[in-house]
């Protein structure tokens, strides 16, 4: 079902290369400033443009190299990325995504929408490639009275009858809206049966920069997430490009809530089952 057009296609691969190369060119001409990271074990910096400052960028994940992306995307096209470690894939994907976001931060005013839209397309491109089907953004809801209803949804990847179905909200961060991930899963569980769809949201990061102090924190609410996983719905995985460590520890708690780098999905997706 994934072919010449659609989320994953040679045309989109080429466009992503062009965008990435443009962003890297733009950012190389700008200032770069170390941020004071209050996140244990992680260093962050930001690009600056006059008084403007970009979002925080994880230093150990950032390697601005469009050629590396081109090589990786060729391996994707051959359907053989076995020579890439999860760590390398993380860096390649993160660097492309954050370059675009930082470029928008520095060239537009208060534009949160463009980075969010780009990130959604980029993740669904990667997801489409991996699972081999196009996403859809609505589901039919049966009505016993009158006409069926179309429910707009996050990306849904349905691999076919009797096969896996993924429910994939994609966001650059969740902040105080994180309960929406579980609420939409609950809705699908209610309509189609618990576990019919595996909830595997993909998120960019949870960093927040205090621009005056040049400080970075991660906004995490692990206790609330545990309660959502217990009482609202069960998510199979929560993937991040820059996983917050406070969330990664949740896999050792009850209820199990597995937060991992998105690059792990490329390997483990065939083994996932609703938890």
């Amino acid at each position: 079902m994934v072919g010449k057009s659609g989320r994953y296609s040679p045309k989109v691969t080429a466009t992503l290369y062009t965008i990435y190369a443009d962003c890297v060119r733009l950012l190389k001409g700008l200032g770069r400033e170390q941020l004071n990271s209050l996140v244990p074990g992680k260093q962050y910096f930001a690009f600056t443009n006059g008084k403007k400052i970009s979002r925080a960028i994880n230093q150990s994940l950032y390697e601005s190299d469009p050629e590396q992306w081109r090589t990786f995307s060729k391996a994707m096209a051959r359907n053989d990325i076995s020579q890439y470690s999860s760590e390398t894939i993380s860096k390649i994907i993160y660097s492309l995504a954050i370059s675009f976001c930082a470029s928008v931060d520095l060239t537009k005013e208060g534009d949160q929408k463009t980075p969010g839209t780009f990130f959604e397309y980029f993740i669904s491109y990667l997801f489409s490639w991996r699972v081999g089907v196009e996403p859809r953004n609505w589901m039919q809801i049966l009505s016993i009275d009158g006409e069926d209803t179309r429910l707009p949804t996050d990306c849904i990847f349905n691999l076919g009858p009797k096969k896996r179905k993924f429910h994939v909200p994609v966001k650059t961060s969740t902040r105080e809206r994180s309960i929406m991930l579980w609420a939409h899963q609950r809705l699908l569980d209610g309509v189609y049966g618990t576990g019919r769809f595996m909830g595997t949201p993909v998120l960019l990061a949870e960093t927040k920069t205090d621009t005056a102090r040049r400080e970075v924190i991660e906004i995490c609410l692990p206790d609330q997430w545990r309660i959502y996983q217990l009482y609202v719905a069960k998510l199979t995985r929560i993937y991040y490009l820059d996983p917050p460590s406070a969330y990664q520890r949740l896999s050792c708690e009850f209820p199990p809530l597995v937060v991992k780098p998105f690059s792990d999905f490329f390997v483990e997706w065939v083994d996932l089952s609703p938890s």
Copy 2:
């Protein structure tokens, strides 16, 4: 439990009068412009300040009269508002709330937070007065392992053992985040049992102004709301100061979802039961 201090108190009543009078004074000195309302049966206008334009104001609900508020708040203090019709109460409450929001729209830049915070305090002031208890913003969640968790919540009004408990999210609008109202209700249903808390959110309006075209629409998703009410949780009421007509029609559909003017709560609150 409601006394000299807290959400409802003579001090807050006096402060609300002062704020309202200040806002009315400010707005009287500014421009006023008729908007092109695409909402059937409703007329809207906006205040203007140079190039700035306030949110849309429902013409038939707006009577900027701080003295009317003073008289009404004296009736509240005597605990006798029986001489006020629901329509009059709607106007008094709406006019005070929207005057503050419009004043912030015209004097600050992109500040959504201050109107939201003010609206939450104002509604919980009225709610506290009516039900006679203070709200709280967190609940204890029992843990079978280790320590209990404190879950931050929207306003919870607990009238005491074996008495009514209200779960009251307060927002100036819901837009694409409306599922959060149901998700938080689902959480309380999960932890404390279905129907233990009655969900009665209070919202200001769902208008959206196209500032270039000077057009007002109401953003309503009634089909989605029906699905949330069926599959996520049951809300007992949804109150608005300016109720969107597309939502008011939902009470005649299945599942019943009763959207009403908030002023009705002052009369019907003793008869409400979880639906």
